[in-house]
Symmetry: none
Subunit: 223 residues, 2 copies
């Protein structure tokens, strides 16, 4: 993340045309390419901005931001730079997970037995060459279990976990790795697809995970 405090003039053209006269402002360039222009008042909404995906070009005193595959353009003319710093905010930034999903992942990482009896955590964000799977656990028989966590378990989630399992099972010693989809709600169609592929579905209750409420037997737990 790059933070620039500068006297600057900003021009936007695209869905409309707008000019911000030269003034002292904060420019934020995020790791994903999104750009915000903020003044020192009037919270929340930037004076101007462009969301990802963008191409950013910088040359002597100007920053040009163009939308990938679009006509939009943000031109920033820097008149006087008061500060220009870049912060590495870690590899986790690029992906950006839903707050709830992330929270779920944390809670389940702390108490993986909610994903299956006797489960123990091996690691969070187990890497594969097509992206990290949320949790890698071992079950009671010491068998590996890849756990994909979603707020809502959809067909896409099953497909995603399937792709991970394909890769993981190529690794030595992981040929029998199982798969579990953990979600607050699992859609019926996702459940059908998952079962046909030998993937287990587990519905988790946030209140129970937090220890605020006792677990109850649901229709599916009883099955």
């Amino acid at each position: 993340m790059r933070l620039i405090v500068a006297r600057c003039e900003v021009r936007y053209s695209g869905r409309l045309s707008a000019v911000l006269p030269e003034a002292l402002r904060l420019l934020v360039i995020k790791a994903d390419g999104s750009v915000m222009v903020h003044s020192d008042a009037g919270g929340y909404k930037p004076e101007n901005w462009m969301s990802a995906p963008t191409v950013i070009e910088e040359s002597d005193g100007t920053i040009e931001v163009r939308k990938v595959g679009g006509e939009e353009r943000l031109s920033i003319r820097l008149a006087e730079v008061a500060s220009d710093v870049t912060h590495d905010m870690g590899e986790a930034a690029g992906l950006q997970k839903d707050g709830v999903e992330r929270h779920l992942q944390e809670l389940l990482a702390e108490a993986p037995h909610w994903c299956g009896e006797g489960f123990r955590l091996v690691r969070r964000e187990w890497p594969t060459d097509i992206g990290p799977v949320d949790l890698m656990c071992r079950d009671r028989e010491d068998c590996f279990v890849a756990v994909e966590i979603k707020r809502i378990g959809t067909i896409q989630a099953v497909e995603q976990l399937t792709r991970y399992l394909e890769r993981i099972r190529l690794e030595p010693g992981m040929r029998d790795c199982r798969g579990v989809l953990a979600a607050q709600v699992v859609k019926p169609q996702a459940r059908v697809l998952a079962e046909s592929r030998g993937i287990e579905c587990v519905e988790v209750d946030l209140a129970v995970l937090r220890g605020e409420r006792e677990p109850e037997l649901t229709l599916f737990d009883a099955a």
Copy 2:
């Protein structure tokens, strides 16, 4: 404007309850008291925020933001501060101002005679104990004139200027301070109220101020 890059946990309660688990984020505290919490991805919208007016309290590792006259509360627990810098972005930033209003103030500060013949600028953002008045000028007779600038001159603007004048006239040597409401458009009811309180109204034309167009006599200028 204060920029903090820190690993932090953020809790909001008010219109809803939300928790952001500990992560590296950018905190922006603007001069008007508005606060934004941004991650390194996903432009435009902050992960969490509170708009002005707020009261901000800071004590060992935590920042508490409360909405003035409301139940909303933003609690930030700082786990590890990577950077914490404050930029003075000019005294004009203090209150939230519309971009147009700000621009108007800049132009009128440069050419205060548009607020009244013979006016000379004493200073912008003249401080009072209830907030700064936009411009303090002297007229041809060297009498002080407090100028409130608005995009649209409303009853509220007249009330605001009235409150300022009450305070200003208590100061030594300013007992006869006059008041002028300068706006692009002055609402008829605001005009009536202003006149009843001896406050002058002036309609200003942005194009004229910029020197792009010659001034024209309007109905009210002629009065």
